[in-house]
């Protein structure tokens, strides 16, 4: 049995390896965990390293790779890298969905035949409320990008991050994503986590490590407990959910994660629907 198979089967750790491709972003969202923006240091994982990590992950028994940031599509090689990664393991890539202009869309075409899902953030059914959190024109760009990607045969998910669930707004948002061709199964709703810029702005819910599903997450700064863990507050990296600085061989942070996961109190589980 591989290193991950048994702990995954027991629900001790998640089976997806997350890779922070970069920390910079074209947006400055009000609740961003990593304080990403156009002016922050890129802190990229280089594509060759990401590909090597995916191979290592497969060998250890991981069953998927997640790519997040920052905005992954600011990494010039991203579409081609996603295809390469998908030849190793199924890929989920998180994006703000605002960069899909014609040239990038054309480079995305090969993803139709690859095991890649593109998850785009969309928080509200109305542009005003959405763009208040995510920046001007965000809503318009996203509702334009989703059909463009789907038309090219690419599977799209929508992720909604909210401060407080508003049933009416959520209903309208669900109607919108269905209209855009995204099924309910491909719509994720989760709370704002009170870390990073959200903590500075006093938004979101406090999440202890017990509330976060353990999913090994690799960044340029080291390995973390969850993709919600490598947060930045007022320019400083949070280390409370850091596992190891050493990320390769991948077995090293994985072993650290298993040690921590093994020490979790019995019955500890996620309770905040953070995913």
């Amino acid at each position: 049995m591989t290193a991950v198979a048994q702990p995954t089967a027991e629900g001790t750790v998640g089976s997806r390896l997350w890779l922070y491709s970069n920390y910079h972003c074209n947006l400055v969202c009000t609740y961003c965990l990593t304080e990403s923006g156009p002016k922050v240091a890129k802190r990229e994982l280089d594509p060759a390293t990401m590909l090597d990590l995916a191979h290592e992950a497969k060998g250890l028994g991981f069953t998927g790779v997640g790519v997040t940031g920052g905005e992954p599509f600011l990494v010039p090689e991203m579409p081609e890298l996603l295809v390469e990664l998908s030849r190793v393991l199924p890929v989920l890539v998180l994006t703000n969905g605002t960069l899909f202009q014609r040239a990038l869309l054309e480079r995305m075409r090969p993803l139709a035949d690859a095991d890649v899902v593109v998850q785009i953030s969309l928080d509200h059914s109305e542009p005003e409320a959405n763009d208040l959190m995510r920046g001007p024109e965000n809503f318009r760009k996203v509702v334009e990008a989703v059909p463009q990607l789907r038309r090219r045969g690419i599977r799209v998910r929508i992720a909604t991050t909210v401060e407080e669930e508003d049933a009416d707004d959520l209903e309208r948002l669900c109607a919108l994503h269905r209209q855009l061709g995204v099924s309910d199964d491909d719509h994720v709703v989760r709370p704002i986590i009170k870390r990073g810029r959200a903590e500075t702005g006093d938004m979101g819910v406090v999440a202890r490590y017990l509330d976060l599903e353990p999913e090994l997450t690799i960044t340029a700064d080291g390995a973390f407990w969850s993709p919600f863990a490598p947060t930045v507050r007022q320019g400083t990296l949070d280390t409370d959910l850091l596992l190891t600085r050493t990320v390769r061989p991948l077995r090293r942070p994985l072993d650290a994660m298993l040690v921590v996961a093994g020490a979790r109190p019995e019955g500890a589980d996620t309770t905040l629907n953070i995913r």
Partner: protein
């Protein structure tokens, strides 16, 4: 018997100087990485752990190693503290010298012996025993790393190989910590500083 003479310290260990700012952020309990949390559970673990916690995977192998070499062992506590304090004073490590001055007093060394180890009194006055002076000469030689001095000090050190190995690793590990603490300007704890002032050190 070959006579090995401990070095005269050019600058006696600095008296409790003004607090210095460490050159790295010291991790606190709120920022303690997952693997380090247990070390912060019962309060401030001290600046060595609080700095090492930046690289949590180093804690696992490093702390047991330090405990095995510097902690209680078949070498007496007196000898252990003589080696650590003397080496730290020879290398001018403020943090280790201050911290282990207090540990040495708590381990039963007299104030004059501590002053002697710190270079503030002649070692011949504080340590009349030839064997103990030979041990201190060995510490000095190991700390300074001059082969001819090491050769001379070894001839004077009338102990078996196992003891030489342990004492040498103790001195060498102290050298490593001296460099670490000095480079990062680790701060002496307020408790230790207060004890030093009360002791007149």
């Amino acid at each position: 018997m070959t006579v090995a003479v401990p070095v005269a310290l050019a600058t006696p260990a600095a008296r409790a100087a003004q607090p210095v700012a460490p050159r790295v952020t010291l991790i606190d309990s709120a920022s303690a990485p997952l693997l380090a949390r247990g070390l912060f559970a019962s309060g401030d673990p001290g600046p060595i752990v609080a700095s090492l916690a930046h690289v949590p995977e180093l804690l696992g192998p490093t702390l047991p190693f330090l405990g095995a070499v510097l902690g209680p062992s078949w070498v007496s506590l007196r000898e252990t503290e003589m080696v650590i304090l003397r080496t730290s004073a020879v290398l001018g490590c403020r943090y280790c010298t201050e911290t282990h001055s207090v540990v040495a007093l708590d381990s039963g060394l007299s104030l004059d012996e501590v002053r002697g180890l710190r270079g503030e009194l002649p070692l011949t006055d504080s340590f009349p025993d030839d064997a103990e002076r030979a041990l201190l000469a060995w510490c000095d030689a190991v700390a300074l790393g001059v082969d001819a001095d090491i050769e001379q000090a070894r001839r004077a050190l009338a102990v078996d190989d196992a003891r030489v190995v342990h004492l040498t690793l103790l001195a060498a590990t102290t050298v490593m910590l001296n460099r670490y603490a000095t480079a990062l300007a680790l701060p002496t704890s307020p408790d230790v500083r207060e004890r030093l002032v009360r002791a007149g050190l």
